[in-house]
């Protein structure tokens, strides 16, 4: 368990030293969402009706974009070879790195999401549901993405392949995330969709590290 937190601390320190580069994901998230009003027009009613879906799709893409580097940097400089030797199952290594990654990339997305809800003219009373749905759903995005990142680590153009592998797996998260928002917009109870979203995240928490660990072993051969 010690080694687990040491890896989390290491990755957080590296992210902090790299400075703005870990905030590129959230900048991407904001820009992509703000492109939509230019495309569909500034009509608040139209924006509000598509807003939740667009914010969720943008969150999916932003997560995917940043996950590309999850194992790649450590693979390229040889750190991954040694990380494998650090007295803990590789699945725990994956979990630690994914946690650090979630903290540095998904958390900023969640924090920025009310701003985007404002851009998309969503009613203020659904902001809380948006934040909660992202908080419950993004762990699943990071964990599933970690499997994709582990499968494509060390490949040239791995990022494009990774999106092909991972985006279909993101569909359930998208459905329940937007579902929760839809319920909230209609003034209904969003908790059943949020519960299902949480179930997906828990499921991914159990299975994804094992899958990613197997994929990493393969990549290091």
């Amino acid at each position: 368990m010690m080694a687990f937190w040491q890896i989390v601390r290491r990755d957080l320190l590296l992210a902090r030293r790299q400075g703005a580069s870990s905030l590129l994901g959230v900048a991407f998230f904001v820009i992509v969402v703000s492109l939509f009003p230019f495309a569909v027009g500034p009509d608040a009613i139209i924006l509000a009706s598509i807003g939740a879906g667009i914010i969720w799709v943008a969150a999916l893409l932003a997560t995917l974009l940043s996950l590309d580097r999850l194992f790649q940097a450590d693979f390229e400089d040889g750190s991954l070879d040694i990380l494998v030797l650090t007295r803990q199952p590789i699945a725990m290594l994956v979990l630690a790195k994914t946690l650090a990654h979630w903290l540095t990339t998904a958390l900023p997305l969640i924090i920025a999401s009310p701003l985007l809800a404002m851009f998309m003219a969503l009613p203020v009373d659904v902001f809380a549901t948006l934040v909660i749905s992202l908080a419950v759903g993004t762990p699943a995005l990071s964990l599933i993405g970690a499997v994709g990142a582990a499968l494509t680590v060390g490949m040239r153009r791995g990022g494009v392949l990774m999106s092909l592998l991972v985006l279909p797996l993101y569909i359930p998260v998208l459905i329940f995330g937007v579902g929760a928002m839809g319920a909230a917009m209609m003034g209904q109870d969003a908790s059943s969709a949020l519960m299902l979203l949480g179930a997906i995240s828990l499921f991914a928490l159990v299975l994804a590290p094992i899958g990613a660990a197997a994929a990493l072993r393969l990549a290091l051969e």
Binding site: A20, P37, F38, P42, M118
Partner: protein, 246 residues
Amino acid sequence: MMAMSRLHQYANPMRFARLSKSLLPWVGALTILLLGIGLYWGLVASPADYQQKDSVRIMYIHVPAAWMTLFVYVNMAIASAVGLIWRHPLADIAAKSCAPIGAGFTLIALVTGALWGQPMWGTWWEWGDARLVSVLVMFFLYLGYMALWQAYDEPTKASRAAAILALVGVVNVPIIHFSVEWWNTLHQTASVLKIGGPSIDASMLWPLLIMALGFTAYFVVLLLWRMRAEILARRIHVLMMQKASA
């Protein structure tokens, strides 16, 4: 021999350091004076607008901040051009130092715009206001510029890449503004009250101008500080390289 050329390179920045040191107290005092007068005039002495009532007081920071967004960007682009053409290290340093200040003013313009928009339009954000939307685009340009600087390790290479981006940006800014306005007329929503308003009374113009001057003086102070910090960073960079190979 290497040290000689380095010395030569830093002769200029050293003169700059002396100049900035003697300049700073004056500009600093001017900043405090102007912002003090501007705040008093804007918040207390100026009348409330007959239409917007007291909410018009947000204008005294929103509008100067929006001006500064453009002004700082133009400065950054000029410095970039000088750095690119004459390979002047101080110009590169100035361009780099502009970006966070400009981004700060942009952030102020955006947030105050939202806080002004809520009582005026009943919404925090209104895509119908072309100027506000353009400021948002400027914010993205600043972020991209700063991210590009971060992405390079070597300052000389970073400065050239960033300068190219700044110049491409400055050519694009009018086009962006024009296209946003055109897009707006396409989707003309019912009577959007434009922030600022077309004509302005002298009792409001004066505090506005004084605040704008205060912001400019603040910009100069910060620019001088940031440039000095950047010069130090480059000396540290050189010394660390020497230390590693000593």
